[in-house]
């Protein structure tokens, strides 16, 4: 790996790596502030995809031929990068999924099947994305278990004193988001895990909005499961990771049956394969997993120090600039936040504001952000959300601020 620790990459040098950041939308230079939905991809990731299909394509884990063995080795090297990236104990604790949603569904299904019974409780929080609510609801309904929710305050922070009172020997698992996609709140997952450990309750962390912003060390966290998606961390779509502690993954039944996940099959009985293959039935998303390895390498080269400093500067500047706008209210004012600003303009619908911003080349998300319970808490239909990545610039914040003012002028005239 190149030593970039002492090299400060200029904003322009970083942006050059992302071809799409140079395009125009509606006749204006693209200002991409929808990184919470998906991040843009650097050249190395895009090149890796083309190279795979041009020079390396073969099915993996079974061919005796050279091409298959090389593809297998490239695929498995991403697993090895992820073990290092997350500081996992074993490579086989890294399970490739199609994304965060599948990772949560896998755990809800397989953990639920093995360990959750009638009357048991599952705890989630008020800040969850629908993908960390619905799979648990489905499983609880199936099992006759109860879903309980840690409440949040007006700033969008969880009330941990309530969590302490919710825990009992009925609690079988806690599933909590590391960072709120709608509000940007960084949850105190360390404290939540410490509390859970007192009752020996396993904890799943939804890291979809965290892994691209901060170093995650699963052993230091001591979480039991950690799930995330490649496409929000500058990698391709359709790939995700489920990290699980070996002891749980071994104790859980498979999620899907098929090829690759078996040792022996007869019509009477199938013996399942070892980890990680037990949870990776069928031909995986080979090309995208290999390209994902490039995005991990890219992030390690940029370094989380650079990422954190840039994103903190952007959040601070944007919070200040947007707060100056008359009638603008920011939702989610937690003390610890990632680069997300969710806001509304008094008297205006977020859809209207987003539509005008789009005409100005500014990409933001509008709506409920798949977090309807949070919107219900604030009694709003949705928000406009600007979410930053380290490749965004202060100038783009200025364009956003001017765009919002233009939208207000047009919509309120």
């Amino acid at each position: 790996m190149k030593d970039l620790a002492n090299t400060v990459l200029s904003s322009a040098e970083i942006r050059e790596q992302f071809p799409v950041l140079g395009i125009s939308v509606n006749g204006r230079p693209l200002v991409y502030l929808d990184n919470g939905a998906t991040s843009q991809k650097p050249k190395c990731v895009i090149d890796s995809l083309a190279k795979y299909y041009n020079e390396q394509n073969a099915n993996i884990h079974r061919g005796v031929h050279t091409l298959s063995q090389e593809a297998t080795s490239l695929f498995e090297s991403t697993r090895s990068s992820l073990k290092r990236f997350l500081n996992a104990e074993h490579e086989h604790e890294i399970i490739f999924t199609s994304g965060t949603t599948q990772g949560i569904n896998l755990v809800a299904h397989s953990f639920g099947k093995a360990f959750i019974n009638k009357g048991d409780e599952v705890i989630i929080s008020a800040l969850e994305h629908h993908s960390n609510i619905v799979p648990w609801q489905m499983m609880c309904e199936d099992k006759g278990a109860v879903l309980r929710v840690i409440p949040m305050n007006n700033a969008g922070e969880l009330d941990l004193s309530v969590l302490a009172s919710m825990l009992s020997n009925k609690t079988k698992i806690i599933a909590i988001t590391h960072v709120s996609n709608a509000l940007g709140t960084i949850n105190p997952v360390e404290e939540i895990i410490a509390l859970a450990k007192q009752y020996k309750i396993p904890v799943l962390i939804d890291g979809a909005q965290a892994v691209q912003h901060q170093q995650v060390d699963v052993r230091k966290l001591d979480c039991d499961f950690y799930v995330f998606s490649a496409h929000k961390m500058f990698g391709p779509t359709g790939v995700g990771v489920l990290y699980g502690k070996e002891k749980w993954l071994n104790a859980m039944p498979p999620y899907m049956g098929g090829g690759d996940m078996i040792k022996t099959v007869t019509f009477e009985k199938t013996e399942y394969n070892e980890l990680p293959h037990k949870f990776e039935a069928g031909t995986p998303n080979i090309a995208d997993v290999i390209a994902f390895g490039e995005s991990i390498r890219f992030m390690e080269e940029i370094g989380f120090d650079t990422i954190r400093i840039r994103e903190e500067e952007l959040l601070q500047y944007a919070t200040q600039k947007l707060s100056e706008i008359d009638g603008l209210r920011i939702f989610g004012t937690a003390a610890k936040k990632t680069g997300v600003i969710s806001f509304n303009i008094e008297g205006l619908h977020p859809y209207d504001v987003g539509t005008i911003l789009d005409q100005l080349g500014i990409a933001v998300r509008t709506g409920h952000h798949c977090t309807q319970p949070i919107m219900d808490y604030y009694r709003i239909p949705g928000t406009v959300r600007a979410s930053f990545a380290f490749y965004n610039t202060m100038e783009e914040v200025d364009v956003l601020s001017a765009g919002i003012k233009k939208a207000i002028k047009m919509l309120k005239r």
Binding site: N26, H349, Y351, D352, I356, Q359, G367, P381, G382, L411
Partner: protein, 125 residues
């Protein structure tokens, strides 16, 4: 018809402002059109063989879009509405801004208006 995008949107916003209010009894879930990011309510009744529409939305631009459609389809016969082709969207220069891939629910609105018209046609035969 419009020189720039501001003009188009300002026209839509004005259309929305001029849209006659819908009766409060129709601003319920039963009259809501699904498939829009904002809420849209649409009511239709047949008076003297012609369909009369009223509508509302909680978003201004969406309200402008439904107002535009009301302007086109209101006071027409069920047959005319059911068979109307949608070329007018292209002709008034809004196509690019109102394409079906945008989540403004334009297509859902048109579909709902045509459904009303077809329902009235069936009632009459």
């Amino acid at each position: 018809m419009f020189e720039d995008w501001d003009g188009k949107y300002e026209y839509l916003i004005d259309l929305g402002k001029d849209l006659p209010a819908i009766s409060a009894e129709y601003k319920t879930d039963d009259y809501k059109i699904k498939g829009c990011q904002s809420q849209v309510w649409l009511h239709a009744e047949l008076i003297g063989g012609r369909v009369r529409f009223t509508a509302d939305s909680d978003a201004i631009i969406t309200k402008g879009i439904i107002a535009l459609l009301v302007r086109v389809f209101d006071d027409e016969t069920p047959d005319a509405i059911a068979e109307a082709d949608l070329q007018f969207i292209n002709e008034i220069g809004l196509a690019q801004h109102l394409s079906p891939t945008r989540s403004n629910g334009l297509l859902s609105m048109i579909k709902q208006m045509k459904m009303y018209a077809i329902a009235f046609k069936v009632q009459n035969t």
